[in-house]
């Protein structure tokens, strides 16, 4: 099936082409028109079945057990290559700068182009463009491609039909790119693109830290309860008779750290409650700590 300018029908999608015209490459465009991307095909219900839930379960199981080590990613890449009947493939991870894709696993990349594959800028080459557009990019025949999408060095792989898919979590957060290629001209179907995207999402969940949505889902209700406890405590103190002491003053001062913009609020609150002096005290007065520094005598 080609992702072309023409509207896509389910009938067309069911048709898998045996080959393609030399030099033809396709980038599934975002948005409107008749073009639809693999994710949008999925959401539109035009591609309704992720064809290989067992493969996804296996990949997730490997990563849950071992983590995203180089060895685990290589084994996963080999599974993916086998599933897609491909000979060459790569897994790149987005670096912390968000600018570079670093090679984490590869199969079949010739040593002569390894330095070009090891680090790819987002936006360059098939993997880089897929990462930038957050959509799959494919070239029907790398050997005859003159579009400029694939880097010239890609021909050195001796592959023809190739595709790169972004590794996304929660559909928008980029974690890397996954690429596979065959030695014959080939167009990857919408189902295959959708599966590659799902594989990427499965890998991506283990390639970085938690997303904001995951943190909120896991912690919001529990921490909300603690926030209300803080508020209720302050109300209780205000309702109580008599004088407070250095502890409530320190508490109110420490609360200001919650307004900070840098993710060091816990540290800053602890610092606000700490004894800032540096010299040993003359003698210990008791054994207990009160939780806030009373100040120097």
């Amino acid at each position: 099936m080609l992702l072309t300018e023409a509207p896509i029908t389910q009938e067309k999608m069911a048709t898998k082409l045996a080959g393609c015209a030399p030099g033809v490459w396709r980038i599934a465009k975002r948005g409107g028109g008749g073009n639809m991307t693999a994710p949008s095909l999925l959401s539109a219900g035009l591609v309704s079945v992720i064809p290989d839930p067992q493969l996804l379960k296996t990949i997730d199981g490997v990563l849950r057990k071992e983590g995203a080590t180089d060895e685990a990613l290589l084994r996963i890449l080999q599974l993916v290559l086998s599933r897609f009947d491909c000979a060459t493939g790569t897994i790149h991870q987005l670096d912390q700068s968000g600018v570079w894709l670093e090679l984490r696993a590869q199969v079949g990349i010739p040593p002569v182009i390894m330095d070009k594959v090891a680090r790819i800028p987002v936006g360059k080459g098939m993997a880089g463009i897929a990462a930038e557009r957050k959509e799959p990019v494919q070239v029907c025949n790398l050997q005859t491609d003159d579009s400029g999408v694939a880097k010239p060095a890609a021909k050195e792989t001796h592959m023809a039909g190739s595709i790169a898919a972004p590794i996304l979590v929660e559909k928008t957060i980029l974690r890397g790119a996954l690429g596979v290629a065959k030695p014959v001209p080939y167009e990857f179907t919408a189902d295959e693109q959708a599966l590659l995207m799902e594989i990427g999402a499965t890998i991506g969940r283990h390639l970085g830290g938690a997303t904001k949505q995951a943190v909120l889902d896991q912690y919001f209700v529990g921490v909300r309860a603690k926030l209300i406890e803080v508020a209720a405590f302050l109300d209780r103190v205000d309702r109580a008779e008599g004088e407070g002491d250095y502890r409530i003053a320190a508490f109110r001062e420490a609360l200001k750290a919650l307004d900070g913009s840098e993710p060091a609020r816990a540290r800053n609150i602890l610092l606000a409650l700490s004894d800032p002096t540096t010299a040993p005290v003359a003698a210990a007065k008791g054994k207990a700590a009160s939780g806030a520094w009373p100040g120097e005598d």
Binding site: H206, A214, Y219, L270, S274, A283, A284, A288, G291
Partner: protein
């Protein structure tokens, strides 16, 4: 999941806790010498306590198939009395030959007093003289920052100290970097109220390092949870950490540190020469 509990005051706990820990995957427990909740009246009380740690408690743990190890010292909470500390320090060498002794600990500071510093220095001297591992307690709450700074400065100023043989315990968000950047191991203690919750402990690991870090429950006679370490493993699993990463933090890290002591050996360990 398997884990090592590297800091638990088991003499304060019931046999139910031993059973629960073993059921949860505990493969060894290590017990630093601690304050009893009251000041002992004489050095004889410490002699009895050290006998309990090196003789009776290992037998109690063995009934549950759990290897028990210990650390010896006079705890910082009793270090204000330097004369008593001297008496206790003098008797420690006779216990260092016991087969379950790991080193000197948990020494350190409580209220950051001069006498506590003096006794800490004496403990460090004892550890160096007998080539022992060191486990350091850092003070509670508002005293932790200052105490950690004093401890790190003292240890760094002694060129005989090898940081990889010292673990500084009870770090929190404001002290973890002080300890790790100086090359020491850092212990994160999991307490329901003071110290760290499982979520905060994993925050520290994620934002600092998982390399020279261990987790412990430090359960004692106070509000504490002997299963806090495996519960933190569960927290890691919920966040998507791999089983391999959980095993590294909960088992392999403490194993790596403790194996520096020839007395620490678990079934399957290759014997250490010497």
């Amino acid at each position: 999941m398997r884990y090592i509990e590297p800091h638990a005051h088991m003499v304060s706990r019931t046999t139910d806790d031993y059973a629960a820990m073993v059921t949860a995957g505990c493969e060894a427990v290590c017990e630093p010498a601690f304050w009893a909740g009251f000041d002992r009246s004489s050095a004889k009380g410490f002699h009895d306590y050290f006998s309990q740690l090196t003789d009776y408690e290992p037998q109690r743990a063995a009934k549950f198939g759990l290897p028990h190890f210990c650390w010896l010292c006079i705890n910082p909470k009793e270090s204000e009395d330097v004369a008593l500390a001297d008496e206790v320090l003098a008797m420690i060498p006779e216990f260092l030959t016991r087969p379950n002794v790991l080193g000197i600990g948990e020494i350190g500071l409580n209220k950051n007093s001069r006498n506590e510093m003096t006794v800490l220095e004496k403990h460090v001297e004892l550890a160096v003289r007998h080539d022992q591992l060191i486990l350091v307690h850092t003070p509670h709450l508002e005293d932790k920052l200052k105490g950690t700074r004093l401890i790190v400065d003292l240890l760094k100023s002694d060129r005989r100290i090898r940081p990889e043989r010292v673990i500084i315990d009870h770090v929190e968000e404001h002290t973890a970097a002080l300890v790790l950047d100086a090359g020491f191991w850092a212990g994160i203690t999991l307490y329901p109220d003071s110290k760290c919750t499982p979520a905060r402990a994993i925050d520290i690991v994620e934002t600092h390092s998982a390399n020279r870090v261990w987790l412990n429950c430090a359960c004692d006679w106070g509000h504490s949870d002997p299963l806090a370490v495996p519960k933190t493993g569960r927290e890691m699993r919920k966040r998507g950490h791999s089983e391999a990463a959980i095993d590294r933090l909960l088992f392999q890290n403490p194993h790596r540190f403790l194996r520096q002591c020839p007395n620490f050996s678990l079934p399957g360990d290759v014997p250490v020469a010497g």
